[in-house]
Each structure stands twice: as structure tokens, then as C-alpha cells.
């Protein structure tokens, strides 16, 4: 069956440089730098990435950062809380726009 997403494709991420090497090299160097231990620990960054992966609904990222957070010693409860953070922001982003709706209601209603 043909599908748009194939888990095997995640392993090919590195090959994006085949078509444009210098940009890919810069991107992967930047990516590696971002996820290094810094003001935030590598573990905290991995949990943020897991939350963002869910907000973006990227299946590759979800696979990658579920594994990565487990490897970094996060437990299921922490991981699910990270997903709830993503869900709260996404839900909140929708709901906060209702203020615009309410403004418009006021503007055009008698």
C-alpha cells in the first residue's frame, strides 16, 4: 500500500544533502548545536521537542523524540505532560482567537 508517510524514511533524513549539500550541512550542524546541553539540559530540550512534534503532528518527529526522551530517562508521565503542554497551547491558540470573534460580534451587532 502506498502512503505519504513511511517509518523507514526517517532513517533517510541525512540524505537530504544529496540534492543541496551546503544548506543541509548547515542545517544539521545547527540542529546538533541546538540539542546540546546548554542553559537547558539535553533532557529538557528533548521533552520540548516531543511537545513541538505533537503540535506539528510530525510522525517522524514523534517517533524520534519518543525514543529520545525514553533514552534520556524521561518516564511516560513526563512525556504525556509534554504532549499536554502542546495540546494546551494549540487549544489555547484557537480559543484566544475567540476574542477577535467577540470583538467582531460587538462591531456588527445591534
Amino acid at each position: 500500500m502506498k502512503t505519504y508517510y513511511n517509518p523507514e524514511d526517517l532513517k533517510k533524513f541525512g540524505t537530504i544533502g544529496d540534492l543541496q549539500k551546503s544548506m543541509a550541512d548547515k542545517f544539521f550542524a545547527y540542529y546538533a548545536e541546538v540539542f546540546k546541553e546548554g542553559a537547558l539540559t539535553a533532557r529538557e530540550k528533548s521533552l520540548i521537542a516531543l511537545g513541538v512534534a505533537h503540535a506539528l503532528q510530525c510522525p517522524y518527529c514523534i517517533d524520534a523524540y519518543t525514543t529520545d526522551t525514553l533514552e534520556k530517562g524521561c518516564d511516560e508521565e513526563q512525556m504525556m505532560e509534554a504532549v499536554h503542554v502542546a495540546a494546551a497551547i494549540r487549544g489555547g491558540a484557537a480559543l484566544v482567537h475567540s476574542t477577535q470573534m467577540m470583538n467582531k460580534i460587538k462591531e456588527i451587532s445591534m
Binding site: 539540559t41 539535553a42 511516560e76
Partner: protein, 351 residues
């Protein structure tokens, strides 16, 4: 839960395990462990100086952990005799560079001659480090084991204990229902006699291994997290955390196959093959002794029945130091577990 052996499972047969590790290896023979060692000039793999003498006192255990590479459990009756222990003592006395005796199992404390053996080692080599790989719950399993912390202290034993996580859910999923709560109680008893306390010479190290088909993260980061959480939640202290990669043999291999994770797990190990971890593998400075006195390069080779490659010195009764120090270490694809990422050994990360 029964052992694979008691279930008459095909993976209780080392030949079956080795055939599978070779036949289903990603990339086949040209991508095997030997070719990886050849690529970095380490084949044949040779020992350095023999420093660690690891002895498996038997496969009997009060726990049946899902990932156990020994396939240990209450239904395993293989146990080392006092006579074989005496042969071990001869080696310990006569090998000058040995600085560590590492006692494992099963639960080594369940061997009826365990205490006699520990005291004998201590009396012939007062200076040597003696490690007991204690599963913690054994201390509470029976009143006759309740004084183990005192016994360990009296003989200046270094205690190394598995605790896969600082929560019950993950620990019990791997090691059995109720294991976490008992482990915490046992750790408190060890702390009470001075183990793991700052300034004390009594060393308590913990072992973390992933509860699933993924690799351990950074040893230092996990150690910091474990220290913080165990102190905050349970007021427990310890010295070091060793991260150990699950080796794809025995029950963990059975899990990988059953969960359809085998190929992905092996690919992951291969993708992070680390030449410096390969140079520092524990089998180079270790000898592993089976419950029946046979000699192996490591505890994993022991479980795969891959005896040392010294045809005239494969048993303690024919111990030949010079043959052993000139041997080639037996390898197969399970060895990728020790060379992945930061490396893995019975003492944690190696690279």
C-alpha cells in the same frame, strides 16, 4: 513467569540464539561484528591484563526479570559447588594483577556457600575489591537474608544493584510486580548501615538499563536525575549509576523478536558503533566463570555457551594463565551491544 528453559522455548538453546543473531543480522555477514573489528584493526580481539574475575554463582533467582540475559529464576537449579569455589580461590590467590572479584548470578546470595565463599576471598586477598551484584529484593525475601547489609559491610563488599527507574511503573514492568517498593526498602537498609553515604567507604552503585528496545542515554545525566529523584522522593543516596545496554540474547532477544523490534534494535546498535568503546570492551580485562567452572570471555558469552578459545584451558581445573592471556576473544553479533554509543560493560559506560 517461567524461565525460557522451563517453557522449553527454542531461545533457551544457545545454538538457536547464535543462528538467529547471524541469519537475521541487518546487512548480513559483511556487516557483522567481526567485519567491524577488522575495519578498525581490532580483529582478532585480544585481552589486555586480567583484572576482573567475574563468577556466576548460579542461575537461581527470586526474581524473573523480563530482560534477563541469564534466563534466571526460581525454577533454575544450576548452582556453583563449594569445590568449584575452591578452584576459583586458587585463581584469585595466584593471579597477581586481579584487583576485582565480581560475584553475580541469578541471585548470588541464594547459593548456600555464598557467605563462606565471600569470607574466604576476603581472607586470602584482604585488599581486593569484591563486588556483589545484589538484586535488592533478596534482602527481604527471607529472614535468613535480612542481615545481608551487615554481612556486606563486615566484608567491605561493593554492592551493585539494578534499579531501572525511580518509579514503580517502569521498574515493576521490567522486574516484576512489587519489586520497586521492596527495592526501595532494601536500599534504605543499605543506607542505614552506611552504604552510599558520603564519606563512607561502603560503596553502593546502581545499574540502569532501558526498559525496552532503546539505548541508555548519557550516564552522567541519568545519574544526576536518579540522585535527585531518589533523594527527594525516598531519601535514598548512592554512589554511582552505571548505564548498561541490553544485549540481544536470551529473554531480551525473545522480547525483541516477539515485539518485532529485533531488526530496528540491531540497526540502532550498528549505527552508533563506537571504535573507542570497542577498544575498551570489558572482555579484554575480564574472565567470566560459569556455575560449573567453565571459563568464558564474559557473562554474555557464558550464556551463549561460547567458551574461551583456549582448547586446553576451558575449565577451572585446567586453568592456564598464559594460554588465556594469549587467546582470541570469542565474538558474535550480540557484541554490538557493548560497542554502541558510550559503550557498555558491567561497570557502565566505557567511552
Amino acid at each position: 513467569m517461567k524461565s525460557l528453559k522451563a517453557q522449553l522455548h527454542s531461545l533457551a538453546d544457545p545454538e538457536e540464539e547464535l543462528a538467529l543473531l547471524e541469519e537475521r543480522h541487518p546487512g548480513g555477514q559483511k556487516n557483522n561484528f567481526q567485519s567491524h573489528l577488522e575495519g578498525i584493526g581490532l580483529f582478532p580481539l585480544q585481552p589486555t591484563t586480567l583484572e576482573i574475575f567475574q563468577i556466576n554463582l548460579g542461575k537461581m533467582c527470586n526474581q524473573v526479570c523480563k530482560h534477563c540475559h541469564v534466563d534466571a529464576g526460581p525454577d533454575r537449579k544450576e548452582i556453583m559447588t563449594r569445590e568449584t569455589m575452591k578452584s576459583c580461590l586458587d585463581v584469585i590467590q595466584n593471579e597477581p594483577f586481579l584487583n576485582c572479584v565480581d560475584l553475580t548470578g541469578g541471585a548470588p546470595e541464594m547459593n548456600p556457600d555464598f557467605r563462606w565463599f565471600v569470607e574466604s576471598i576476603r581472607s586470602i586477598r584482604p585488599d581486593i575489591k569484591i563486588i556483589v551484584r545484589c538484586n535488592l529484593t533478596i534482602i527481604l525475601a527471607n529472614p535468613k537474608f535480612h542481615d545481608l547489609p551487615e554481612f556486606f559491610k563486615r566484608n567491605t563488599i561493593e554492592v551493585v544493584s539494578s534499579l531501572p527507574y525511580f518509579t514503580a511503573m517502569k521498574t515493576d514492568a521490567q522486574r516484576g510486580d512489587g519489586v520497586f517498593e521492596k527495592s526501595i526498602r532494601a536500599l534504605r537498609l543499605l543506607n542505614e548501615v552506611g552504604y552510599g553515604i558520603e564519606g563512607s567507604e561502603l560503596v553502593l552503585n546502581l545499574v540502569y538499563n532501558p526498559s525496552g528496545a532503546f539505548l541508555p542515554g548519557s550516564q552522567s545525566e541519568l545519574e544526576a536525575e536518579f540522585k535527585k529523584k531518589l533523594k527527594e522522593r525516598f531519601d535514598i543516596v548512592f554512589n554511582s549509576l552505571f548505564t548498561i545496554t541490553n544485549i540481544p540474547i536470551s529473554r531480551f532477544l525473545e522480547y525483541l523478536l516477539r515485539s518485532d523490534n529485533f531488526e530496528n534494535y540491531m540497526e540502532k546498535l550498528l549505527s552508533v558503533f563506537n571504535p573507542s568503546a570497542a577498544a575498551g570492551v570489558m572482555c579484554r580485562n575480564t574472565i567470566s566463570i560459569g556455575w560449573d567452572g567453565y571459563i568464558y570471555d564474559c557473562d554474555f558469552n557464558q550464556m551463549l555457551d561460547m567458551k574461551v578459545n583456549t582448547p586446553n584451558s576451558i575449565h577451572l581445573s585446567e586453568w592456564d594463565s598464559s594460554a588465556l592471556s594469549n587467546r582470541s576473544i570469542q565474538i558474535n553479533n550480540h557484541c554490538f551491544g557493548c560497542t554502541a554509543g558510550a559503550g557498555s560493560s558491567c561497570g557502565g559506560a566505557t567511552a
